[in-house]
């Protein structure tokens, strides 16, 4: 479509004449205007940048100028010469023309020239007056232009069409033309903001266009006075040319019809059928990923298109196709992979996916798949099943990932985070729906993938209703809503079903690994320690997890930690300690769990790495409380280490069970002034010191008190059980420590006294002491009738211990010495013979 005429004075006048009655045609032209202005705007900015194009076009306009001058003085030979030059210049600038489209002024010249030549041709009289040279040139030029213009037939035709439709134009008032040009420039600036908004609208911008026209007209009239002044402000060249040669035509900057203009045009009268819509869709999509494409506008366009197709009942196939593309362009909106979508955009996307799923559920005859080729798609023919290219699973997965990204990038302590988190339910809903859909339609792999998504959204949540049900509280104090909630399946059952499907069907190792880990995590979270442990042991993940990618490793770490905490809750201190040891001993628990980056200098990681690491972070709502983790670890370490330390006080080769615990102890010792404990660590250290003395009451009061409750223990679901377990453990281990430490000062001790001291039942005391005797930790025997422990005193004293150590060391020394001597005996013997030589 000719752009020149759309903006030129002709259309202007046309509007003024037909502004009242909005004929379809008028709508068409006005409708086109904003976009054109927009593109003009664009071009203006481009002109600055693209000097090559500028140069070429200037060359062309200069030649055109001379041609027009020659036309005026009827110098045909000059005309011919210049035309040939123009032809060459045009060829030279072909690359630019290919990119930008044929410039308007060029078309205009071609059309004018042909008209002019025809006119001259018919004017027999004039022809006769011409000299021979001119006449010859005229005939050659006429033939040439006729031939040449065939290439530009369509453009010229459209040019002429507008030309004819507007009667005023034919007068070819150059002055006015020039005005309109400059006007064009001016106005495009004035309308800049409007045009951006309305640029993408297609269906509902009729009204807007009309008002726009009004604005334009108004301006036009108002500005008419000023225009003469304005002309002077326009580029010098124009000014000069205009005055000197009265030829403003040349300066018109040809608009290049952009791809997206075309689809809008089809609204003009053309019958909207699926073929047209598909064509438009492809056109829109072609602009995708290109540099200058306005992505927001594109999304708008696609939305509009879906609206059109909906209105025109073009069938679900097309709708689905468009929806796919809308979602894709929503994802495209952010070019940077690291950046996160705006929550609003994401919500739009969510809606779209929801609608898409609606359609898919309603229409059973739609097949979607990545492997359906573009050309084998069936979008329109409704009696056959629709075939649409696209993968809804990928879209949903991407949506989920974007959700994670949004959560990662929101301040976790803000209201915004809570608001965003509320959408998690919708995400789950969509995943659930897709899951149902894929269960009936998708391949096994797809089902596995969506199952994993579902698992990922389930595994870290504590199932309160199942918990409550297991406690047998159901039904009594329930509101209706609660009742409703508890209708659903237990998450444990869901997890079990989904995971087992994946174990059986999955063929990619990664999904299975993730599923196992999530399953273990879920078991551990719900205190099903044995299942969790067995699964962990059966999976053999511990052996090869270091080969997995970092996100899986993070998941593994999370699982191990959860496993450890679970073991702790169950009172399996040793298991808890072992599970947590790896994570805690590194001192980088935060990083290993993907819950934050450690401060490190930039040498160790550059900005790029940091970005990658940031992307791996687990969103806040899935975090494991680090203080809880550390506390659990330290307390289990305390329960293991303190009796061990007491038992092996004089052992030179004593090994530390937990380095970190020892570190904490040392830190505590280094303090010059010991106040009452404040932090969790200080509490544990203070408790350890009390335990070392066998003072379980103090130890208990340090471990379980208000502060620690609020900090740590209340975070467990079954707080009371854990606390009871802890007290029991503290009593037992204190008893053991006491016996280790003070057995040397007793000849015998009554078990009854011990049971009173540690508030343990007699049988327990009996069993603990028996165990110690059996393990040869305590040199004693039980005297049954009197219920006393009789010490044997076979433990070596410290001096004896030292002597033993010394003997051991000396043994090593002798061994080393002999090794030296072995070497000496050969070639270099003699050093040790010195003694014999010196002492005769």
């Amino acid at each position: 479509m000719s752009r020149f005429f759309a903006t030129g004075s002709d259309s202007e006048s046309e509007e003024s004449s037909s502004a009242d009655e909005i004929t379809p045609k008028a709508t068409g032209t006005t409708f086109n205007k904003p976009a054109l202005l927009l593109s003009d705007d664009e071009e203006d900015t481009k002109r600055v940048v693209r000097s090559a194009k500028d140069k070429r076009f200037e060359e062309l306009t200069n030649i055109i100028k001379t041609i027009r001058n020659a036309m005026k003085i009827r110098d045909m030979s000059k005309c011919l010469e210049e035309f040939e030059q123009l032809y060459r210049a045009f060829l030279k600038s072909k690359t630019i023309v290919d990119k930008e489209g044929v410039p308007q002024f060029y078309i205009r010249l071609l059309a004018d020239l042909e008209d002019y030549l025809n006119q001259l041709w018919e004017d027999k009289e004039g022809k006769k007056k011409m000299n021979k040279n001119n006449a010859k040139a005229l005939s050659t030029l006429r033939q040439k232009i006729r031939k040449y213009n065939k290439d530009f037939e369509t453009e010229i035709a459209s040019y002429k069409e507008v030309l004819n439709s507007s009667t005023n134009v034919i007068s070819l008032c150059r002055c006015q033309d020039e005005e309109s040009e400059s006007d064009d420039d001016e106005d495009s600036e004035d309308w800049g903001s409007d045009s951006v908004d309305s640029g993408g609208e297609s269906e509902d911008n009729e009204g807007a266009a009309a008002s726009l026209a009004v604005v334009f007209l108004k301006k036009y009239k108002d500005g008419r006075r000023k225009r003469h002044k304005k002309i002077e402000q326009v580029e010098e060249e124009v000014d000069e040319d205009g005055e000197a040669e009265e030829g403003g035509w040349e300066k018109v900057k040809g608009g290049v019809p952009l791809v997206k203009e075309k689809p809008k045009m089809f609204a003009k009268g053309t019958e909207i059928n699926s073929a047209v819509v598909i064509k438009k869709l492809t056109e829109i999509l072609q602009a995708r990923g290109k540099k200058g494409t306005d992505r927001a506008a594109q999304i708008e366009l696609l939305h509009a298109l879906s609206g059109i197709s909906n209105e025109n009942n073009l069938g679900q196939g097309i709708l689905v196709k468009i929806k796919f593309n809308i979602i894709a362009s929503l994802y495209d909106y952010n070019t940077n992979l690291a950046a996160f979508m705006k929550p609003e955009m994401w919500k739009k996307c969510l809606e779209c996916i929801d609608e898409l799923l609606d359609i898919l559920f309603e229409n059973n005859n739609i097949f979607i798949g990545e492997n359906i080729a573009e050309d084998s798609e069936n979008l329109a023919i409704s009696d056959q099943p629709f075939r649409v290219r696209g993968c809804i699973l990928t879209l949903v997965e991407r949506m989920d990932e974007e959700f994670t990204k949004i959560m990662q990038n929101t301040d976790p302590h803000s209201q915004e985070y809570v608001d965003n988190l509320k959408d998690e339910g919708r995400v789950c809903g969509i995943i659930d729906r897709l899951l149902q859909y894929l269960e009936s339609k998708g391949s096994t792999e797809e089902v596995c993938r969506i199952y994993l998504r579902r698992i990922m959204h389930t595994y870290y949540k504590f199932d309160y209703k199942a918990h409550r049900r297991s406690l047998g509280l159901q039904g009594e104090t329930k509101s209706e809503q609660d009742q409703e909630e508890s209708e659903g399946e237990d998450s444990a059952i869901i997890m079990d079903r989904l995971c087992k499907f994946i174990y059986a069907k999955d063929r990619t190792d990664r999904i299975r690994t993730c599923a196992i880990l999530c399953h273990i995590y879920h078991h551990a979270l719900h205190s099903r320690w044995y299942q969790a442990r067995d699964l962990m042991l059966m999976s053999h993940l511990q052996d090869n997890i270091q080969h997995a990618d970092p996100p899986v490793q993070i998941l593994y770490n999370r699982t191990m930690v959860q496993l450890g905490i679970c073991a702790f809750r169950q009172g399996m201190i040793k298991d808890a300690h072992n599970a947590l040891l790896d994570i805690q001993s590194s001192g980088r628990a935060k990083e290993l769990l993907g819950q934050g980056l450690l401060m490190r200098n930039m040498q160790e990681r550059n900005a790029e790495q940091e970005k990658i690491e940031k992307r791996r972070q687990v969103p806040f709502h899935m975090h494991i409380n680090l203080e809880l983790l550390e506390c659990v670890y330290l307390v289990s370490a305390m329960l293991l280490e303190i009796p061990y330390m007491a038992a092996h006080e004089f052992d030179a080769r004593r090994r530390m069970i937990s380095k970190q615990f020892h570190h904490q102890l040392r830190v505590g010792e280094r303090q010059p002034l010991l106040g009452p404990p404040e932090s969790m660590r200080e509490h544990v250290v203070a408790a350890s010191k009390a335990m070392k003395m066998g003072d379980w009451r103090t130890c208990h009061s340090f471990i379980i008190n208000e502060k620690m409750n609020s900090k740590v223990w209340d975070l467990f679901p079954e707080t009371q059980c854990v606390r009871e377990m802890l007290v029991r453990k503290i009593q037992e281990e204190s008893l053991r420590t006491y016996l280790f430490t003070y057995s040397s000062v007793y000849d015998s001790i009554s078990m009854e006294t011990l049971s009173e001291m540690f508030e343990l039942e007699l049988p327990t005391v009996h069993s603990i002491i028996s165990k110690m005797i059996i393990n040869e930790e305590l040199m004693a025997s039980l005297d049954q009738p009197t219920q006393t422990v009789v010490m044997h005193r076979t433990e070596p004293t410290s001096l004896q211990n030292m002597a033993l150590q010394l003997a051991e060391k000396l043994g090593g020394l002798v061994e080393n010495n002999e090794r030296v001597f072995d070497l000496k005996q050969g070639v270099y013997g003699g050093y040790f013979n010195r003694g014999t030589r010196t002492r005769p």
Partner: protein, 346 residues
Amino acid sequence: MCFGPFPLHQTMASRKESAASGSSPLETPVKQIQIDGLVVLKIIKHYQEEGQGSEVVQGVLLGLVVEDSLEITNCFPFPQHTEDDVDFDEVQYQMEMMRSLRHVNIDHLHVGWYQSTHYGSFVSRALLDSQFSYQHAIEESVVLIYDPIKTAQGSLCLKAYRLTPKLMEICKEKDFSPEGLKKACIGFEIMFEEVPIVIKNSHLINVLLLDLQEKSTVADKHELLNLSSSNHLEKSLQLLMDRVDDMNQDIGKYNTYCRNLSKQQQQKQQYLQRRQQENTQRQSRGEPPLPEEDISKMFKPPQAPPRMDTLLIAGQVNNYCQNIKEFTSQNLGKLFMAEALQGHSS
């Protein structure tokens, strides 16, 4: 532990001159040391006042040589100084001290130095270096080792040591390599020689002491008869163990050195053999033999670990063992005594 640069070069120079111009340049080494009671008391007092725990106190001995015995007639302590007062000039201090003593007509000739010890640990490199420079400059000089712990247990422990001439030679040459030590045939037993000590007081003091002895009441506590032993033994054992550890390390080092050396020797031998074979082949073919190459350059022997420290450690270990042996035998005696006493009383 710090060992000040005790032997003053200025004084030493003058001493040497005087020694050279004097009767004889010490043909017979010092056979006996006669210490004035005053010196003993001063040393004990010095430790009591300044030494705590394992801190070591040091001081300068003054006296003169009479025939084959060295008479130590006076001493003065060397102040403890920390790292932070840098401007403390030790030489200056000694000079000042000695000058002042001369003014009040006290023997001012430098004849050695004294040092306290902690559970008999004094055989160290620092002591060796120090004593070497002393003996190098002032031939008759000795080091007095005072053991405050044993003294506290009831028996005065003061010992005088000198480096043996052999060790002096080695130190002079500064050749502490295994070969050097082997050649010198030196072992830890013959590094130091102990010189017998006689404590001598003037008659007046002896009279006074006898007088006091009669007047004084018998002390109630007899440290000498203390039966508890484990504390002392534990400490000694601990120190002994540390030294044994060090020794072990040194031996390990030496072991690797020996292995490396022998490996290299083998390589060298192989190389030489190959070379010889090639040469004979060449000769048979009538070609000129291969040019001589510097084998020592090709096979650089590995750096030998210095053996002096090992020797010193061995000496120290020996020392500890002696101490422990002494202590335990005494203790055993005491225990038997106690048993007998108990048996008698019951």
